[in-house]
């Protein structure tokens, strides 16, 4: 990897790829968890690499159950979970020492102020009273909580509450962070700030598991995505590979006379499968799956014959939303 590539990663807030090659932070194997007749996790297996991992899925997909199992709050009916090689059900204390958890819902004690709460929780995580007080100011500075830190939490805005939740999760400097919907209820500026904070934490060498249903956010900062539905894994992979989409899929933008464009489109059908096609006032945009490279496929030759110009030709990139929707369509076809 070149230095330029690493710098580009840092600019967009992603952890350098070097971290992705290290051992997985969490390994889940064949975990099944049932609550009565409801199956929350169904033979779920996945490896969570180092860096920022987006855990995606609709409500009730099993994301929270997975996090609770990883924290040792729930014991799986079958299967194993290993966090840094440790079993949460046996090494619960050591696992929890290594994890910082930011819950989704309101959970802060409203009668305390931010300093009291964060330093108290620091002490519960094993810091001395003196250490936790000093560290609490450090993390509150980091999450941009100013003099308000001395006000009762009940008077805080949603954005501030989210910041305090992040502060309490990182106060003991855990190796792994579980963030459950960290930008919930925040305004766009606050959301950007929160994502920036998460990126900064990840750049300091921490592993972050980001559970969210705002796909844009995950796409912006995550290195890896895991999509879960009905308690089962339906897709996972490096974000870049996921967004690259299918191999051989190209977006072609062409201009020309209406008849020429129609001829070109007809000819293209012989080169590969056309996924989408939009025509508008002498312009045509289509997504096609070609066999081999565009130059070998005869696409340019066909354009010259039809008398149209090719204005753009690029590999088709997906948004994470496309990946998400495609994954769900696929899982429905497979009966998941």
């Amino acid at each position: 990897m070149t230095i330029d590539m690493v710098q580009a990663d840092v600019k967009v807030g992603k952890t350098p790829n070097k971290a992705n090659t290290s051992k997985p932070t969490m390994v889940v194997r064949d975990v099944t968890m049932r609550f009565g007749s409801v199956t929350a996790l169904n033979d779920f297996s996945a490896e969570f690499p180092h860096g920022i991992v987006g855990l995606l899925g609709p409500n009730g997909a099993g994301k929270s159950t997975l996090i609770k199992s990883a924290l040792g709050l729930l014991r799986p009916g079958s299967g194993t979970i290993r966090i840094k090689g440790m079993d949460p059900s046996k090494d619960m204390m050591a696992v929890r020492d290594a994890i910082g958890y930011m819950p989704e819902h309101d959970c802060l004690i409203p009668t305390k102020n931010a300093v009291q709460l964060v330093s108290y929780l620091g002490q519960l995580s094993g810091m001395t009273s003196k250490d936790s007080k000093r560290r609490c100011h450090e993390v509150l500075d980091f999450v941009n909580i100013g003099e308000e830190r001395y006000r009762e939490i009940s008077s805080y805005s949603t954005g501030m509450l989210q910041r305090i939740k992040l502060a309490q999760a990182i106060v003991h400097d855990p190796e792994i962070l579980f963030l459950d919907e960290p930008t919930n209820g925040m305004d766009p500026q606050g959301r950007d700030d929160m994502l920036d904070l998460i990126s900064k934490i990840a750049r300091s060498g921490k592993s972050v598991l980001l559970s969210s249903h705002i796909l844009d956010e995950v796409e912006q900062i995550a290195d890896h995505a895991i999509i879960i539905s009905n308690g089962a894994l339906i897709k996972e992979g490096d974000i870049r590979s996921l967004l690259l989409g299918e191999e051989g899929l190209y977006r072609v933008i062409s201009r020309g006379e209406k008849e020429a464009l129609a001829t070109f489109q007809k000819g293209l059908k012989g080169l590969g499968k056309i996924h989408t096609c939009e025509t508008m006032e002498g312009s045509m945009t289509l997504v096609i799956k070609l066999e081999g490279s565009p130059s070998d496929s005869g696409l340019f030759h066909l354009a010259a014959e039809a008398g149209i110009q090719i204005r753009a030709l690029k590999p088709e990139k997906l948004s994470l939303e496309d990946v998400f929707v495609n994954a769900f369509e696929g899982s429905e076809k497979n009966g998941n």
């Binding site: 609770k68 924290l71 709050l73 729930l74 619960m92 204390m93 050591a94 929890r96 020492d97 994890i99 958890y101 819950p103 819902h105 309101d106 959970c107 802060l108 004690i109 409203p110 009668t111 108290y120 929780l121 002490q123 519960l124 995580s125 094993g126 810091m127 001395t128 009273s129 250490d131 560290r135 450090e138 509150l140 500075d141 980091f142 999450v143 941009n144 909580i145 100013g146 003099e147 309490q168 990182i170 106060v171 003991h172 400097d173 904070l197 900064k200 934490i201 750049r203 300091s204």
Partner: protein
């Protein structure tokens, strides 16, 4: 904006042992409760009304030794007990209900903390406050009485002082598990406080009503059970129709059953929302 916005800094300190973390809960509960104006007022007024008078009398009236009868009637005084129940209601009301109301269990149990450690930590903090009113003054009064006695039977006085300490410890501890249990049933501190007070009141009422059929029903009241225990400790006789073993069983139940209930409630809620 922050006072001094900074980049993420790692923490380089050493982690303390798990027992020290339990102590952090105890210390926080103790400090918070001491800052409460209501609890402070109860502590001050209760100490003046229930303890100061006994102390003054003990110093002013000449006595040969620390007598068990005197300490028994002091610990069984209704004023002392009333303030103890009021104090237990205020101290224990928020122990679990505050965390239930704010859903903050997850903050505790996502950390290296077991349910029993959480319960012990909270309970110890509450017992600390209760001890300021229920344990410390009887101990001080006992010491003062021994110090000002005119007779030479110090061994006998020290024995009574020892029994006084046991009895004072019992009254200090007894109300906390029950208070914590009621606190684990509601998200509202006020409801919990009223509930704790009403529980003692209603159990005394039930015991009083049914004791017309069988005298042992009196033991349904924690207050009566406590008073009979004091009688046994100080060597006084209990009514013949009251079962001595029954007192022991009831006292054990009053201490153990609430703790089991709290354990189940906290465990259930910890993995809830």
């Amino acid at each position: 904006m922050g006072i001094n916005p900074i980049e993420y800094q790692p923490w380089t300190g050493e982690r303390v042992g798990y027992s020290a973390r339990v102590f952090a809960i105890t210390e926080t509960i103790f400090r918070e409760r001491l800052k409460s104006k209501g609890i402070l007022a109860l502590l001050i007024i209760g100490t003046i009304l229930a303890h100061m008078f006994t102390l003054m009398m003990g110093i002013m009236i000449p006595h040969e030794a620390l007598e068990s009868e005197m300490m028994r009637s002091y610990l069984k005084s209704e004023l002392f007990l009333l303030f103890t129940i009021f104090l237990a209601s205020l101290v224990c009301a928020g122990l679990v209900s505050e965390d239930l109301g704010s859903n903050s269990f997850v903050l505790y149990f996502s950390r290296p903390l077991k349910t029993e450690s959480y319960i012990i930590g909270k309970m110890a903090g509450a017992i600390g406050i209760m001890g300021l009113y229920c344990f410390l003054p009887p101990l001080l009064i006992g010491i003062v009485m021994v110090g000002t006695q005119t007779g030479s039977d110090y061994l006998g006085s020290l024995a009574v002082l020892g029994i006084t300490m046991v009895a004072a410890a019992l009254i200090t501890v007894l109300f906390v598990p029950m208070g914590m249990m009621i606190s684990s049933f509601t998200k509202r501190r006020t409801y919990a406080a009223v509930g704790i007070f009403m529980m003692f009141f209603s159990m005394t009422l039930i015991g009083g009503i049914f004791s017309t059929f069988d005298a042992n029903w009196q033991l349904a009241s924690p207050i009566n059970s406590l008073f009979y225990t004091f009688d046994l400790l100080f060597g006084a006789s209990i009514p013949e129709n009251i079962n001595g073993w029954g007192i022991g069983i009831i006292m054990a139940c009053l201490l153990i059953i609430p703790m089991i209930v709290v354990y189940i409630r906290v465990n259930f809620k910890a993995v809830g929302k």
